[in-house]
């Protein structure tokens, strides 16, 4: 395991081009500070988010993944963020079965005007992931003969949620 005291979470963020990427732009233009632990990838729409991207990110060393799109009803392509929402909900369930705490995946609706909020939510997310600790998923799975362990308690919670 990595040295806990030195742990700096790596968060990958997928943002849509129209609202959330611009929210990040606005945070920048307004010089609002947030932790450097997030690195963004721009998609045209959150609907472009292939669940594989998230899994690849975790596999590649991300400790958390942020998905950000326009607010419901405000997607530049009308309703594609709803389709992403479905994938997101499914993904969370899947993560639990793979032994990944679902809180490592966060969904954020952010409009182009919400630079401050974007920064705030990113800060929160980084702290959440920091408290969860490093993921090191690929290593854990490898050492377990390629098997993931389901997170039992959380799995139950999710069912009742």
């Amino acid at each position: 395991m990595t040295d806990q005291t030195n742990f700096e979470p790596m968060v990958v963020g997928f943002t849509c081009n129209w609202c959330s990427y611009r929210a990040a732009d606005l945070a920048g233009m307004s010089r609002i500070k947030y932790p450097p632990n997030i690195r963004l990838i721009r998609l045209m729409c959150s609907g472009r988010l292939d669940p594989t991207f998230v899994l690849k990110a975790f596999e590649g060393g991300a400790d958390g993944v942020l998905i950000s799109g326009c607010h419901p009803g405000e997607c530049h392509y009308l309703e594609q963020n709803y389709k992403m929402l479905k994938r997101f909900l499914l993904l969370r369930k899947m993560l639990i079965q793979m032994g990944i705490e679902p809180d490592r995946l966060k969904l954020l609706w952010a409009s182009a005007a919400e630079g401050a909020r974007f920064a705030e939510e990113v800060t929160k997310m980084v702290e959440t992931v920091r408290s969860l600790g490093p993921l090191n998923w690929s290593k854990v799975v490898d050492s377990n003969g390629g098997h993931a362990t389901v997170i039992p308690v959380l799995a139950k919670e999710e069912v009742t949620a």
């Binding site: 732009d25 947030y34 690195r39 998609l43 729409c45 609907g47 991207f53 530049h76 392509y77 409009s111």
Partner: protein
């Protein structure tokens, strides 16, 4: 396949980036460490976007035969086009140029130079890996329908309509009210020149009404907007007027004969009356009256028909059977000029509007001053006969106040000064202005302030606590007392007055969110429409082909609204003249050999671009309808749909790149131990 030859260009942006990111180090690092990924040259420069910066890239493309370029600078939303065009000029396919945002996403939001530098490296590494997967593309050209839709016929909308129509292209001017002119038609004088609003507006209204290239649709609302830039199909509901526009001469006899009088809360701001068949004012455009079915005796009780009886036209112009009409039009561009709503002064109970008779709103006062208004331009108290001897004007009502609106409504200071002048001119009354700050920027505005100062108006600097009729001191009996802290002398003051005018702020239209949704644009947190860029492109929106002008974008006075109307028109005209528009070639397409015909993607497209070919058992995507969101690309279980510019390969390569450096590598300083 030719090998990748990538150039990396790191911008200092003055100190904007260089202040927080060690740009020289980043550029050196990219040149060495990313050599294996195809980087052949890496440079840093003060301002990459300057012509010298661009020439630097172009020279490298030529001399070092680069075939891909990564520019690490500001957000791609600012300069992607600049750099792509530069590359294109050097004969490189523009879509092989990528931008990495190390200003908005790094230097402006982080403080620790070492960590920021490492993040910049990681992002650049993502950009380099991604650009290697980029494919050369051609822009998509769409034809532009020369017709334009303008929503809202206030001064901004009218100006835009006239500019376009005068250039010879068709315009549909849609207005919700029964006549055009917007708020400006309600005013008497305009600041700072004090010329009469009607005198300068009515000629424009007449022009718009008569123009052979303008189709005027009043009492109309937009129901639906389909399509995309160049080819919008818009569904409009034209409300029934119950007057036949093709026969009515606008003689006005029906209005005279109508027995029903109702308080006009719309145009006269509740100060005057109109009939159940009405037009807003005598010079209204269009000239045809409209029937208000909520008050018309015929619609309520089935009898009367006085208007029809007295109508002199042949055939009769009154048509009680008229129905709403649904009209469908095709346009290439759309300008929204939907204006503002006045702040509802009742929301501030301590100012007494609606409770204390002699508290007036700014709009009420405008109507009172208007020679064609309910008092024929005379300033009276609510009783309609007494002239005020003292008048208090309160600025910033509903503006610059965290309980209501944080923003400054821009026009209120000048409007209040104008009111002070008019009160003095018409009644000779003593006037007190209560202001927070006096904002008289723009041409001739401050001169007007000086003039009003010289006219002997009293100015008290301080936010008003309340306006009340509870007298406490001698001389306050029967008066309205304005209580405020005079911040210049640091004392509480109570000023007894006969009349209070509330200079109410401007708010976004109550339905602005709904309208924005219809047109696929967005509103800022205070509800005004968001422009593409606050400084460099205030009239465009993020949605191609949709423009905004006037107060729907933010509080604005008349000159600024006119300017924006004309600017939006100029932009549209440019589009029309060039006949076609180049769009980003971001589209999805099906690789037929891989498509299994599962049809999972078939329901995902909101633009109906996806169809299924039963015969071949494969899905097709119509390139003209596809907007490039990529939802189907993400959904295809066989990987049979590819999305240009955002392909799986590109995104996953970028992901690899940004994950290649750990967050704390800067602190731990063991760069070499970083996993490749």
């Amino acid at each position: 396949m030719t090998e990748e030859r990538i150039g990396v260009y790191v911008c200092h942006c003055g100190t904007n980036i260089a202040g927080t990111v060690d740009v020289e180090e980043v550029s050196k690092w990219a040149g060495e460490k990313l050599k294996k990924d195809g980087v052949v040259v890496s440079r840093d420069y003060k301002f990459m976007c300057s012509s010298l910066g661009q020439e630097l890239i172009q020279a490298d493309i030529k001399e070092k035969s680069l075939n891909r370029v990564v520019v690490a600078a500001c957000s791609p939303h600012l300069h992607e086009k600049t750099f792509r065009t530069a590359c294109q000029k050097a004969d490189m396919n523009p879509y092989l140029c990528e931008m990495v945002s190390i200003r908005e996403q790094v230097s402006w939001v982080h403080t620790d130079k070492r960590v920021a530098t490492e993040k910049a490296k990681a992002l650049i590494s993502g950009g380099v890996l991604r650009v290697a997967k980029d494919e050369p593309l051609e822009a998509i050209h769409v034809p532009i329908n020369p017709a334009t839709l303008i929503v809202g016929a206030g001064i901004a909308g009218i100006q835009a309509a006239l500019e376009i129509a005068d250039s010879g292209f068709p315009v549909y001017l849609v207005e919700r009210d029964s006549s055009i002119g917007g708020h400006m038609a309600q005013f008497d004088k305009t600041f700072p020149t004090l010329d009469c609003a009607a005198c300068i507006l009515t000629p424009k209204m007449v022009d718009a009404g008569d123009h052979p290239n303008i189709t005027l649709l009043t009492l109309s609302e937009i129901e639906q907007v389909d399509g995309y830039v160049g080819n919008f199909t818009v569904t409009i509901r034209k409300g029934a007027r119950y007057v036949k526009e093709d026969v009515c001469t606008g003689c006005g006899i029906c209005i005279e004969k109508c027995p029903i009088k109702v308080i006009d809360t719309n145009f006269e701001a509740g100060l005057g009356y109109r009939k159940a068949i009405y037009r807003n004012f005598p010079q209204a455009i269009p000239k045809y009256p409209a029937i208000d079915t909520e008050h018309c005796t015929y619609f309520l009780h089935g009898k009367c028909k006085a208007c029809q009886l007295f109508c002199p036209t042949q055939p009769n112009s009154i048509d009680f059977e008229q129905q709403d009409e649904v009209i469908r039009i095709e346009v290439g561009n759309i300008i929204l000029a939907t204006g503002y709503d006045l702040f509802n002064s009742r929301r501030i109970p301590q100012y007494g509007y609606g409770r204390l008779a002699n508290v007036f709103t700014s709009l009420e006062f405008e109507r009172m001053c208007n020679a064609a208004g309910p008092t024929e331009g005379r300033v009276f108290l609510r009783d309609g006969i007494t002239q005020p001897k003292t008048v208090g004007i309160i600025h910033c009502v509903g503006s610059r106040d965290k309980h209501y609106n944080n923003y400054c409504s821009v026009i209120c200071c000048m409007q209040s000064l104008k009111f002070a002048h008019l009160v003095k001119e018409r009644t000779g009354a003593e006037v007190y202005e209560f202001y927070i700050d006096m904002r008289t920027a723009f041409k001739d505005y401050d001169e007007f302030y000086q003039r009003v100062l010289q006219e002997g108006v009293n100015f008290i600097r301080g936010r008003v606590a309340e306006a009340t009729d509870a007298a406490r001191l001698p001389g306050e009996e029967g008066k309205l007392i304005i209580q405020a802290e005079d911040t210049l002398i640091g004392k509480q003051r109570r000023i007894p007055v006969d009349m209070v005018i509330l200079s109410a702020g401007l708010e976004p239209r109550a339905d602005s969110e709904e309208v924005a949704k219809k047109f696929g644009i967005s509103c800022s947190s205070n509800g005004f429409f968001i422009e593409k860029h606050p400084k460099l492109d205030p009239i465009s929106t993020l949605t191609e082909g949709i423009f905004i002008a006037g107060a729907c974008q933010g509080p604005k006075d008349i000159p600024a609204s006119v300017t924006q109307g004309a600017a939006a028109a100029a932009r549209v005209l440019g589009r029309i003249q060039s006949k076609e528009l180049a769009l980003e070639p971001i589209r999805a397409s099906v690789i037929e050999e891989r498509c299994s015909g599962c049809r999972i993607c078939n329901d995902l497209c909101p633009f109906n671009a996806i169809t299924f070919n039963e015969e071949l058992n494969v899905t097709n995507i119509n390139q003209a309808l596809c907007q490039g969101c990529g939802t189907c690309v993400a959904a295809c279980p066989s990987g049979a749909i590819s999305g240009t510019q955002f392909s799986d390969e590109q995104i996953l390569a970028q992901l690899d790149g940004i994950l290649s450096l750990p967050i704390n590598s800067g602190k731990v300083k063991t760069l070499e131990s970083v996993p490749a």
